[in-house]
């Protein structure tokens, strides 16, 4: 047992030292989630916080009165429900040119006779022209107009209004989407870190041709691999404060919940990811493959775990899926904790992730050891050579 601890400790300390020596590679663990979050802030930030979507407004009505001006005022007013519309008044020809060139995505026209029709209780219409290049964008361009038209009905046409709606929210506070994403990206960072650091540690041994020496030293393979896994687990947390601070800097919000519960989930998640990373590292044997596999593997579970939007938005089917996929399982409880501070599925989710973590702690060294005996690259080369020989014989 003392031999086990000695080997484990040596491997653990060595990996930590290697990573701390190579600050640029270690920095990547922090930079990647930060840049990843920044990209989403750039892509989506304006929809929620900015001045609104540029909207060409063509007013063909020559005698605007209370209704026309009222509609324009409602369209211009800031709305707590994003996205807002930033109206740019122009003539039809200019709007047409800008729309055709893709410089403006929505054109709204208030036609001639609009005022008179409403005043005389007659029917009229407004017209929108939408660039429907993408389903989601089309929805986000059209829906604010529909909402504003309904608001116009409620305020200016009370005699035409037969129904209305009210909203009951579950929580007292609604976090901004990008604050929510900062919180979920810290889970992404932990998964990415676990996969990348442990996978790289193994592939590095292959590249340096030192793994065989280690494995032939007659030491426990569990001690060797677990040392590398745990160093990855410790370092996988270094992006967490950076992303949290960024989210706080932008939105002034910290997630709810408490640190012990966070670590009770994040530690086994990182351990499980490190277990997977060790296996991937032993299969690929090349750090070049570890980067995209880790980044995208973590991204995959971030998306299907509810990182962009809560899974419940897409239906109960994902609920059943959740129960058995440890990543999604962790996301479920963490998201509930971050947003609401409650723990509906705490026990089952913790049981699942700890089970996976323990199982992978045991089987990852065995699987990685088995994988290290098979050189898939060499086998592919042999197959190629065989095929080449057959072709030349033919």
């Amino acid at each position: 047992m003392s031999g086990f601890i000695r080997v484990f400790r040596a491997g653990f300390v060595k990996e930590l030292k290697v990573w701390l020596r190579n600050k640029r590679r270690l920095g990547f663990i922090v930079i990647f989630p930060i840049l990843y979050y920044s990209a989403f802030v750039l892509l989506m930030g304006g929809v929620y916080a900015g001045p609104g979507v540029d909207t060409a407004l063509v007013i063909e009505e020559q005698n605007p009165g209370v209704y026309t001006n009222g509609l324009i005022q409602i369209l211009e007013e800031r709305d707590p429900i994003p996205p807002n519309l930033r109206l740019i008044e122009m003539n039809a020809e200019e709007a047409d040119n800008l729309f055709e060139n893709g410089e403006i995505l929505i054109v709204m026209t208030i036609p001639e006779g609009f005022e008179q029709a409403i005043t005389n209780n007659a029917s009229t219409s407004i017209h929108i022209r939408v660039n429907n290049a993408h389903e989601d964008m089309t929805k986000n361009l059209r829906m604010p107009v529909i909402r504003k038209l309904d608001l116009f009905y409620q305020i200016y046409l009370p005699d035409a209004v037969v129904s209305d709606f009210e909203i009951e929210l579950l929580n007292d506070f609604t976090p901004p989407r990008l604050a929510y994403m900062a919180w979920t990206i810290i889970i992404y960072g932990v998964v990415f870190g676990g996969l990348f650091l442990s996978g790289s540690a193994i592939s590095y041994e292959f590249e340096q041709e030192t793994l065989d020496e280690l494995l032939m030293s007659n030491q426990s393979i569990h001690a060797i691999y677990i040392g590398k896994m745990l160093s990855g687990v410790i370092l996988s947390f270094i992006s967490v404060p950076a992303v949290l601070l960024m989210g706080w800097g932008l939105y002034g919000l910290w997630p709810q919940g408490n640190l012990p519960v966070f670590f009770a989930f994040a530690l086994p998640l990182s351990l499980y990811s490190a277990g997977l990373g060790v296996i991937i590292g032993a299969i690929t044997r090349n750090s070049v493959y570890i980067v995209p596999l880790s980044a995208l593997g973590a991204l995959f579970y971030w998306l299907v775990g509810g990182g962009v939007a809560p899974l419940s938005i897409v239906g109960m089917g994902f609920g059943a899926f959740n129960e058995y996929i440890p990543f999604s399982n962790v996301y479920r409880t963490m998201i509930e904790m971050f947003v609401q501070g409650t723990y509906t599925y705490l026990l089952i989710d913790m049981l699942v992730i700890w089970s996976f973590a323990v199982v992978f702690l045991v089987i990852s060294p065995i699987l990685a050891d088995k994988a290290s005996r098979v050189d898939i690259g060499m086998r592919i080369d042999k197959l190629r050579q065989k095929r080449g020989r057959k072709t030349s014989l033919a």
Binding site: F28, L42, L43, Y48, G50, P51, V53, D54, P82, F99, G102, L105, N121, T124, S125, I126, H127, R129, N132, A133, H134, D136, M137, K139, N140, M143, I146, R147, L149, D150, Y153, S163, D164, F165, E166, I167, E168, L169, N171, R177, A179, V288, Y289, V291, P292, A295, L296, L299, L303, V304, A309, P310, S312, I313, V314, G315, G317, F318, G319, I335
Partner: protein, 377 residues
């Protein structure tokens, strides 16, 4: 000079053949993203359909009218806006409180009576406000349902001809590309982005690792010939990825371009030209193949996300758009999606000019940096 360029091209292509590892991320990145997207949206049944419960407590025909609207509203993309399931009040409330149902609508007792007597009838939507995007999407949808009810645009025709104010809509394309089709289309340009950047970054880093860069830079070959040689070699090296991504992402999913193939090819070429110097810069800075690929993937993924890879940047305010337009990936993705889904040449010039400008400026910069690196060594 031509002979020098040919020599550099040959050397770079040989190097790519010897170490084709840059192809791995060029395939993994777009395929994983496409897979994730397909799984996500396949579960939803379309980008616009969100789960919602419906409780109808009122037995009147007016309540049925409202329920019919909410259950059958048709969006521009032929998917329903709500994926409705009916519950009784107690079940809906229980599921909502436990987090198993994100939202539900209640049409209360007396709804029909209120409509008949001219009082405003109110329905209630309960939303688990996990973030403001969730609230936005549900409020927008119910707002549309209520507007249709007030316009007397009822199921199944949703005819607005009797409405006090109808909403007439014209869409630019005959059919709105689904989120998944968009992802498949941009998957091609993404593979090209990763391949261009990672391929060149690996080539340059390999030159530093093997010290070949010093021989090349100290040779009588002009720096211009070296830079042009690198760029020319990058074109076939980057295009090779299309042999796999086009059959899988486009032909396999029957996502075919509406625009001119030659123009699409030209956009790919401009993308390669603009991104190769960026790969070279990464290679110069990292000097190691492993780190070069690390930072290439980082640049490609972030550039792709910020540049409108998951959704067009059209909803961004002008000021923020100005920031992401500094990235060449933004122009590439914007031009590519425009021509891919629409047979048009309009609006392409600014993007093409930007990519050319990036190519020229960064090529000059990399040439200078290479010189400095070698001199300092």
């Amino acid at each position: 000079m031509l002979r020098e360029i040919i020599a550099v091209v040959r050397k770079d292509l040989k190097q790519a053949k010897r170490d084709p590892r840059f192809i791995a991320p060029s395939l993994i990145v777009p395929f994983v993203l496409a897979l994730v997207y397909t799984i996500m949206w396949a579960q939803v049944g379309g980008g616009e359909s969100f789960v919602c419960g419906l409780v109808v407590e009122d037995q009147s025909s007016q309540a049925d009218e409202m329920a019919d609207i909410l259950e059958n509203m048709v969006s521009t993309t032929n998917f329903t806006w709500f994926k409705m399931t009916r519950y009784d009040s107690e079940s809906a409330s229980g599921l909502f409180q436990s987090g198993d149902l994100i939202a539900y609508i209640l049409i209360p007792e007396g709804f029909g009576a209120n409509v008949t007597t001219g009082l405003k009838a109110t329905i209630t939507i309960y939303i688990a406000n996990l973030n403001d995007d969730v609230v936005k999407n549900y409020v927008h949808r119910i707002e549309a349902g209520v507007l249709l009810h007030n316009q007397r645009a009822l199921y199944p025709d949703f005819n607005q001809s009797d409405a006090r104010i109808a909403l007439e809509e014209t869409l630019n394309l005959q059919e709105t590309p689904s989120n998944v089709s968009y992802m498949y289309a941009v998957g091609i340009i993404l593979s090209m982005i990763v391949c261009s950047v990672a391929g060149q970054a690996m080539a340059t880093a390999a030159d530093f690792e093997t010290q070949a860069i010093y021989d090349t830079m100290n040779s009588p070959a002009s720096r211009l010939a070296i830079v042009i040689g690198h760029t020319v070699a990058a074109i076939p090296r980057s295009l090779v990825i299309l042999a796999i991504t086009i059959p899988v992402l486009l032909l396999g999913t029957e996502t075919l371009p509406a625009g001119n193939i030659a123009v699409l090819g030209l956009i790919l070429l401009l993308t390669i030209l603009a991104l190769v110097p960026i790969g070279e810069l990464i290679g110069i800075r990292t000097k190691q193949r492993e780190q070069a690929i690390l930072f290439s993937v980082l640049f490609a993924v972030v550039g792709f996300l910020a540049g409108g890879g998951l959704a067009p940047i059209g909803l961004m305010p002008t000021e923020m758009r100005a920031i992401v337009l500094l990235l060449p990936t933004t122009h590439s993705i914007a031009m590519w999606t425009r021509v891919f889904f629409q047979d048009t040449m309009l609006g392409l010039l600014p993007g093409a000019v930007s990519l050319l400008a990036v190519w020229i400026l960064l090529s000059l910069l990399t040439a200078q940096l290479l010189k400095r690196e070698v001199e300092h060594a």
